[in-house]
Structure formats: structure tokens, C-alpha cells
Amino acid sequence: MREPTYFVLAALLDGPLHGYAIIKQAWELSGGRIRLATGTLYTALDRLTDEGYVRLVSEETVNGRIRRSYGLTDEGSAALRAEAARMADAARIVTEANRGAAVRPVRPRRQVRPA
């Protein structure tokens, strides 16, 4: 799962959101790292809807424009938690206690040129 997709799903964990709210939530959750472009968001939403991870929850008209809210499905929630567990396992390899202290950075060798 790519990082923007992960944060789109994570943004919907607390409940259904509309397009701009997903962009804001993903930005906050990622500490300002992930700023989804509008086109990217809707491409991701289309794909996630096709895969059954996201579904349309409600539709309302605000200022004359349609505003749709999307929510996580059970499959989407399970996929997100599985991805989080996989990343946590991967992170543990590096962040495990005592291990980091034992690993010393390798100093690059100086190459000796033949005279």
C-alpha cells in the first residue's frame, strides 16, 4: 500500500469525511508531510471504492455543489490495520531496544590508489 493511500484510509478511521476534509486530515495525521492533490485524492478514492475498501456514505448539496462523504468499509479497516501491523513489524527491526546501540555506523574506507 502506498503512503498516500495509507493516509487516505487512516483519515477515515474516525468516521466518514468529504474530499477536502480527507485532505486536511491526511495532512494533520502525517505531520504535514502528505499534502494530497485533489486529482490524486479522487483517483485514490475511485480505486479504493472499486477494491471495496471505501464506500459512499452520504451526499448533500453545499453552496450549490454536491458534497459526498466517504467512509471505511470493514475490508478497508482490516486492510489498514494489516498494513499498520506490517509497518510496525518492519520498524521494530530497526527500533528494537539494545539493537540500535549495538549497530555502529560503518566508516567508509579510504581507497588507496596505486602509485
Binding site: 468529504h18 474530499g19 477536502y20 485532505i23 499534502r35 492533490a37 485533489t38 486529482g39 490524486t40 485524492l41 479522487y42 483517483t43 475511485d46 453545499v62 453552496n63 455543489r65 454536491i66 458534497r67 459526498r68
Partner: protein
């Protein structure tokens, strides 16, 4: 409408029309909310993402159809380009013969050509807009005009020193009209958007010809005409990543265009059918496009529509 909204709407054109109808307003609202206040144009990253998203949505459109359905649409478009080019040529001949009477006509001329051209053009438009019986009726009328008026010159035309088209041209026209009728029988949905491609190719064929009437520009049309046709081919080749059907259509048109001269050359004993690059190159392009089209189409059991 603010300049920002106008520019956003322009960018939304990257998406297919059906997609825009369904989600255009929603995407616009999000885009306007996400753009910082005071800006007259969207952020560069938003522009790039919208264009890429639109192209992806266009590519996803074909995946609703099987290869056979996509191929039928593309071949129908190719046939229509060929017929539209003939219709445009007929109308051009009529205008030239009526306006510029000093120009000697090597083919047929006058009102019969106008009628044949109009009927042929009607078949092209109706193939995408009308019900099947109407298309078949129009194709039958156009076939009658092609054989009755254009194919075989009247005694008056012969007396005036104007011959008809060779039988190879007429046979190819009749074959194309029959194929258009047969293909529309097998297709429920035909998007009129294909008429853009037909119009673009015909424009590249016709417009440069009229430049010769503009003072001091008459010599340019000789260089512009092949250049414009090449541009259409290059765009169709580039578009293959999104949709291979326009290239199939253009290759079909190029193949059909080479058939009558090859028939004539074989008749005169100066050509070999199988080794004529005018036919083999378009066929090779078509084969490449069909291979790509298979990858862009859905498998028969998974087709959503038609």
C-alpha cells in the same frame, strides 16, 4: 465565475465527459476549497494531478468493454474517416468546379457529386447519432449515389471530357458503406465523441488545400498538408498509452486509402499487392495498436456494458 474557477473547469476537461457529469462538481468544490485564498490559478501540483487523474480515468473507460467491442468501435471510426474524406473531397470538387470553372476537372463534377458527397457525409454522421435502420437506409442511398452518379459518368460528363472514378474506388466505397451498416447492426452504444477524430482527420485533408487561394501562401499548402496528417498520426501514436482505439481507426483509414491505388496498379501490372509499403505499414501500425488494445480491454466474462 472567478478566474480560478474558470481555470479549474478547463483542467477538468482532462476527465471524460461521463466522469465529469458524475463527479465534476464534487472535484471542483474540493479543488476550490483546497486552493489558498487569493490565487487566480490552481497550485501546480493540483494541475498536474488533475491532468494525470483525467488521463487515468480516460484509460479506465475502455476497460469496461471487451476487445471485440473496442475493435468494432475503432474500425467503424476508421471507415467513417475514409467515407468522410471522400465526402469532403466530393464537396470540394463541387465547390471548385462551380467557383473556379477555369480549373479542368479530371473526375466527375456538378450536382451529382454534391448529392453523393452529402449522402456520404450523412452516413458518417448518422453512424454515430441515429438508430440502426436509419444508418442502413442512408448507407443504401449513398451506395446508390456512388454507383449511379460518381462511379459511372453520364453521357453528358463523357461528352464534356470528364471521366468517372475507377471501379476500384467505387468498390472500396461500397465495401466501406456495407461495413458501416454491418457494424452498426452489432453495436448498441456509439459515442458521438468519435466524430471529433473524424472531423480532425478530414480537416487536415481539406484545410491545407484552401490555403492555395490565399495570396502569397499558395506554395505552403504543399508542405502543410503532409505535416498535418503526420501530426494526427503522431498524436494517435502518443495516445496509445491511454487509448489505442484512435490509432486503430487512423491505421484502418490509412489502409483503406491505399487499397484503390493498389488495385489500379495491380490492374496495370506495375505493383505487387503483398509487398506494397503503403498497405503494409498501416497494417503493421494497426497490429501494434490491436495488441495494445487487448491489454486495455476487459475479458469477455467481466464486461460491464455491452
Amino acid at each position: 465565475m472567478s478566474p480560478l474557477e474558470r481555470r479549474c473547469r478547463l483542467l477538468m476537461r482532462a476527465y471524460p465527459a461521463a466522469y465529469r457529469r458524475e463527479r465534476g462538481d464534487e472535484i471542483m468544490a474540493t479543488l476550490l476549497e483546497a486552493t489558498p485564498e487569493g490565487r487566480r490559478r490552481p497550485l501546480l501540483r493540483d494541475m498536474r494531478a488533475l491532468i494525470m487523474g483525467g488521463l487515468r480515468a480516460r484509460a479506465a473507460q475502455n476497460r469496461r468493454f471487451t476487445t471485440a467491442v473496442n475493435l468494432r468501435l475503432a474500425v467503424l471510426a476508421g471507415l467513417c474517416i475514409y467515407l468522410a474524406a471522400i465526402a469532403a473531397g466530393d464537396l470540394n470538387d463541387f465547390v471548385t468546379s462551380e467557383v473556379d470553372r477555369a480549373v479542368p476537372m479530371v473526375g466527375p463534377a456538378g450536382w451529382p457529386v454534391l448529392i453523393a458527397g452529402l449522402l456520404m457525409g450523412a452516413v458518417v454522421a448518422l453512424a454515430w447519432l441515429a438508430r440502426r435502420p436509419v444508418v442502413i437506409g442512408a448507407a443504401a442511398l449513398a451506395a446508390g449515389a456512388a454507383t449511379g452518379y460518381v462511379g459511372f459518368p453520364s453521357a453528358a460528363q463523357q461528352a464534356a471530357g470528364r471521366g468517372g472514378l475507377t471501379s476500384a474506388f467505387v468498390i472500396t466505397e461500397l465495401g466501406c458503406l456495407a461495413a458501416v451498416a454491418a457494424l452498426t447492426v452489432r453495436m448498441e452504444r456509439r459515442s458521438p465523441a468519435w466524430l471529433w477524430l473524424v472531423g480532425a482527420v478530414v480537416a487536415t485533408l481539406l484545410l491545407p488545400g484552401y490555403l492555395r487561394y490565399i495570396p502569397n501562401l499558395w506554395f505552403i499548402w504543399m508542405y502543410i498538408a503532409p505535416g498535418m496528417e503526420l501530426c494526427v498520426l503522431v498524436v494517435a501514436v502518443a495516445w496509445i498509452a491511454i487509448d489505442a482505439r484512435p490509432l486503430v481507426a487512423v491505421a484502418t483509414y490509412l489502409s483503406l486509402s491505399s487499397v484503390p491505388p493498389i488495385f489500379d496498379e495491380i490492374g496495370w501490372g506495375v505493383s505487387n499487392w503483398f509487398f506494397n509499403p503503403a498497405l503494409l505499414i498501416p497494417l503493421a501500425i494497426a497490429a501494434l495498436a490491436v495488441w495494445r488494445l487487448r491489454r486495455q480491454s476487459v475479458r469477455p466474462g467481466q464486461a460491464v456494458q455491452q
